[in-house]
Point group: C2
DNA sequence: GTACCCATGTAAAGTGTTACATGATTAC
DNA sequence: GTAATCATGTAACACTTTACATGGGTAC
C-alpha cells in the first residue's frame, strides 16, 4: 500500500459531498467509510494543507461561540476535476489484506488442536457484534428507498460491508463445534 | 496497521514449519499466505537479523554448487516459545481493510451513473479470475483428506480466501446488469 | 467544576514499498 | 549466451500510528 497517495483522493471525494472541517473528515474515517479506509487526524490536517497549497481545495474560517475557529474546506474546480479523473480510472489491483487471526490459524497444524475452538469463538463474537452494528446502521441510515436513491454509493458500501461480515461469521460458524 | 510488529511472529511461524531461507520466506508471502499478509524481501532480511540478534532464530550457511551461499534459518527454543505465546493470545481487533474500488463507488451518488457498470465489470473479472486461481490451488494442494489433515491451517486459510472471493464476486454480480 | 466532545496542529517512531546493488545457478 | 530464477542485502522514500500539545464549547 502507500505511495499512490490515495488519501488525497478520498479527502477530495468527501469534501465534494459537502464542505467540511478536518475534524469532520476524521469522523468520516471512523464511521461511513471506516470499513474501507482509515486515517487519523494527524494524517488529515497536513494533507489538507498540501491540497490547499496545490489549489485543489480552499477553506473559509468560521467562528462558533466566542472564538472557536473552524476551517471549512471546499473543492476548487481543479480539485473536482482531479477527483473525477481518479474515480474514472480503473482499479486493476486486488486489495491486499492483513488478517492476524487467520494467520494464527495457519500456524496450527492439526484439526484437533485445543486452541482452535476458543479462537473461533472469540472471532465469532467479534464479527457477530460488528455485523449487528452495521445492520443497525443500515436500518437507521436507509429506512426507505428514497434514502437509498439519495446516497446510492453510501448504500452500496454499507451493503458490501454487511455481506462481508455476514459471510465471515458464516465461515466461522461452519468450523465451530456446538 | 504496523507498530505491533506482527511480521516477526509470522516469520517465526513460517520458520517453525521448517527451516528456510529469507528468499523462501519472501516466496511464502507471495503464495501460501499472500492472501492474508504481505512482505517484501527488503523487510524480511533485516527482520531475520533482528530475530537472530534477539536469540529467537539461528542460521546455518549452506553452499549449493560452486559458492552460492544460502542462510537457512531455524527457530531456537526462545523463538518457539514466543511464537506459541503469540498464537495463544487473543486477537480482539477487527482487521482494518482498504478497498479503493469500493470507495470509488461511495463517491458516486446516483444508481444510474454511467460509470458504475464498467467499474463493476472490471472488478468482476478481476475477482473472478482470482477465485479461479485459488480454486485451482486448492485442487492441486489438497487433492484428498489426507492432505488436509497434514496441513489443516493451510487448508483453513485457503478455504477462507476462496469463500471471501466467491462472495465478493456474488456481491458484484448482484449489481451487474445483464 | 469537570468530564467529554469539538477542533487543530506537530513530532517521533514504526511499518512498508520501490529502487539500488550484486552475484550465482539453471533451463533453453 | 542469455533470460529467468535463486539469493542476499541496503537506501530512500512514502505511509501510518501514537504521542505530544493546546484550547474552546457543552452537558451534568
Amino acid at each position: 500500500m502507500g505511495q499512490r497517495n490515495r488519501l488525497q483522493y478520498i479527502i477530495l471525494g468527501l469534501l465534494n459531498q459537502h464542505p467540511q472541517t478536518g475534524y469532520d473528515l476524521a469522523k468520516a474515517f471512523e464511521n461511513e467509510i471506516g470499513e474501507f479506509w482509515q486515517a487519523q487526524h494527524s494524517q488529515i490536517y497536513p494533507m489538507l494543507k498540501r491540497l490547499e497549497a496545490a489549489g485543489e481545495i480552499s477553506h473559509e474560517d468560521t467562528v462558533t461561540g466566542e472564538k472557536l475557529a473552524k476551517k471549512k474546506y471546499t473543492l476548487t474546480s481543479a480539485g473536482r476535476e482531479k477527483l473525477v479523473t481518479w474515480v474514472s480510472q480503473p482499479s486493476p489491483e486486488l486489495t491486499p489484506s492483513k488478517d492476524e487471526f487467520i494467520l494464527k490459524l495457519y500456524f496450527i497444524k492439526t484439526a484437533n488442536d485445543p486452541r482452535i475452538q476458543p479462537m473461533l469463538r472469540e472471532q465469532y463474537q467479534l464479527h457477530q457484534s460488528q455485523l449487528h452494528h452495521l445492520q443497525q446502521r443500515q436500518e437507521t441510515v436507509f429506512p426507505n428507498q428514497k434514502a437509498i436513491d439519495q446516497a446510492y454509493g453510501h448504500y452500496l458500501i454499507l451493503d458490501h460491508a454487511i455481506e462481508r461480515e455476514s459471510h465471515y461469521v458464516e465461515w466461522l460458524a461452519q468450523y465451530l463445534e456446538k
